[in-house]
């Protein structure tokens, strides 16, 4: 019996330890709050361990953990949304860019700093940010993302499409702001 107990937690930690960094990184991207991200990851691990017996051995454990975390995030988001605006809303992001969609100015025309890239990504609503991170950073397939987010594949496709479109708009907006700042700072200001 003791062996069973230790084997189970050992098996779980063997599978779960390598997932901690990607999970926490994504939790940070989702919540944009260190304390909330810590709680989210902690709760996800405890829940995953509780239901570890339901995990089908041989399937994608990382995707399984992400699904648990995503569900917890949305549940707690909905709960917290009722009480207070803990997270920035999925829908509160207004993109002011007036970029011409046919513009040939490439999104990466100006080399983006890592920090700016983070900011651009953070400006996306969570519904768009999550599939983008899952797809481009963690390289999950559409099928896996659909399972993680518990939505149809078609929704994953459209969200990715719209997420990239919005990212482009945000980056273009950043470029324009930056150009304006450069012009201003380039002026000679008399003493």
């Amino acid at each position: 019996m003791l062996g069973w107990k230790k084997d189970r937690s050992k098996e779980f930690m063997t599978l779960a330890s390598p997932v901690m960094d990607p999970l926490y990184g994504t939790a940070m991207k989702l919540t944009r709050n260190e304390e909330v991200a810590r709680d989210l990851v902690q709760d996800s691990y405890l829940k995953a361990f509780k239901y570890f017996d339901t995990f089908e051995r041989g399937t994608n454990f990382k995707a399984w953990m992400f699904r648990i975390m995503t569900r917890l995030f949305y549940d707690s988001y909905n709960e917290r949304k009722r009480n207070a605006a803990m997270f920035s809303s999925f829908d509160d992001v207004t993109i002011n860019a007036t970029a011409d969609p046919d513009s040939r100015s490439g999104a990466g025309e100006r080399r983006l700093l890592a920090q700016e890239l983070q900011q651009a990504l953070d400006q996306l609503p969570a519904d768009f940010r999550l599939p983008l991170v899952l797809c481009d950073v963690h390289e999950f397939s559409y099928q896996e993302i659909a399972e993680i987010m518990e939505c149809p594949i078609g929704t994953v496709m459209s969200r990715l499409f719209r997420a990239r479109k919005r990212m482009k708009e945000i980056i273009l907006n950043m470029n324009q702001t930056d150009e304006a700042t450069t012009t201003k700072s380039g002026q000679i200001i008399p003493f």
Binding site: M20, Q42, A114, V137
Partner: protein, 312 residues
């Protein structure tokens, strides 16, 4: 395939989710369409940019905390399963004994032995009802089998001395804003003070090596007996240490050296409360210690090592 269709497929193309046929058609279209080429390049560029995003790594203390919580959770599950298995086994065993006894009938009393009143009455009226008790009692080998089966596991459970009740009492004392009877960072003064009150002639735990400061102490109660409660400030958070007579708690783990720490299962002396606080309970040099902290596992381990390596 027109531009509108191609634009939709570009996402699938750059994510390598497109079918072979669609891939071919998209490639053919893009070759001859400058607008779609631009859309394609931009989408690819965004993907490459997002790929470069560096995600935060999990803090070390979070990993340690999760590991300890999983271990604690496994312990709780084990106890629950054991109790469930124990009750199931007991019911099963009783059913077997009952069935067996029913088939055997009541045991014949030894010649000359006094016949129990219940047996005498029941043998006359309803023998099948009373057969269970005499058979179980009269078959010590089977009763011992049950005892042998459950005893190691039960003794293990008994060793789990940090019960929820103990934890709750300790945490209540830890969080209550009680005034210190002696308030000084000077551990010698604190030691002299509690020696006169409690008879503990041992220096207070030294937590200074990792930034801990003694704040003071008070006489308190632990498990309804007198105890010394010491307050420390470690990294801006309170660490409470109780010192008490170890005979108050049986099976207290004795930690007198780092070797003893390494050899002992941490579950036997550290536990995590549902609120995430760490609680430790052990003895050293004839004194029982309990540590309660809001800090993480690393600090708790350091506190324990600090006490366990104090000279006799």
């Amino acid at each position: 395939m027109d531009c509108r269709e191609v634009e939709k497929l570009i996402t699938l193309y750059i994510d390598a989710e497109i079918s072979r046929q669609d891939r071919h058609e998209v490639e053919e279209h893009v070759k001859h369409c400058r607008r779609c080429t631009a859309v394609f390049e931009e989408a690819q560029e965004i993907k490459d940019l997002v790929r470069r995003v560096e995600l935060d790594k999990a803090p070390h203390d979070l990993a340690v905390l999760i590991r300890s919580q999983i271990t604690a959770s496994a312990g709780r599950e084990f106890a629950f399963n054991l109790l469930r298995l124990g009750s199931a086994t007991a019911v099963f065993a009783l059913a077997i004994y009952g069935g067996f006894a029913f088939l055997q009938g009541p045991p014949a009393p030894r010649p000359g032995a006094p016949v129990p009143v219940e047996v005498a009455m029941e043998t006359a009226d309803a023998p099948q009802v009373t057969a269970v008790a005499p058979v179980a009692a009269g078959n010590p080998s089977r009763a011992n089998t049950m005892r042998r089966f459950s005893s190691p596991a039960l003794s293990r459970l008994k060793k789990k001395i940090i019960t929820p009740q103990v934890m709750e009492n300790l945490v209540v004392e830890h969080v209550r804003p009680l005034p210190a009877e002696i308030q000084t960072p000077d551990s010698d003064s604190v030691a002299r003070w509690y020696a006169s009150k409690s008879g503990f002639y041992t220096p207070p735990p030294q937590l200074a090596s990792w930034g801990g400061k003694m704040e003071g102490g008070r006489m308190s109660r632990f498990q309804d007996r007198e105890a010394v409660q010491l307050f420390y400030n470690v990294q801006g958070k309170r660490v409470t240490v109780f010192m008490f007579r170890p005979d108050m708690i049986p099976d207290l783990v004795e930690l007198n050296s780092t070797e003893a720490i390494d050899k002992t299962d941490e579950e036997d002396y550290i536990s995590t409360t549902p609120g995430g606080r760490m609680v430790a309970l052990f003895s050293h040099n004839g004194i029982g210690y309990s540590i309660i902290t809001d800090l993480d596992f690393v600090v708790m381990r350091q506190c324990i090592r600090g006490i366990a390596t104090q000279p006799f």
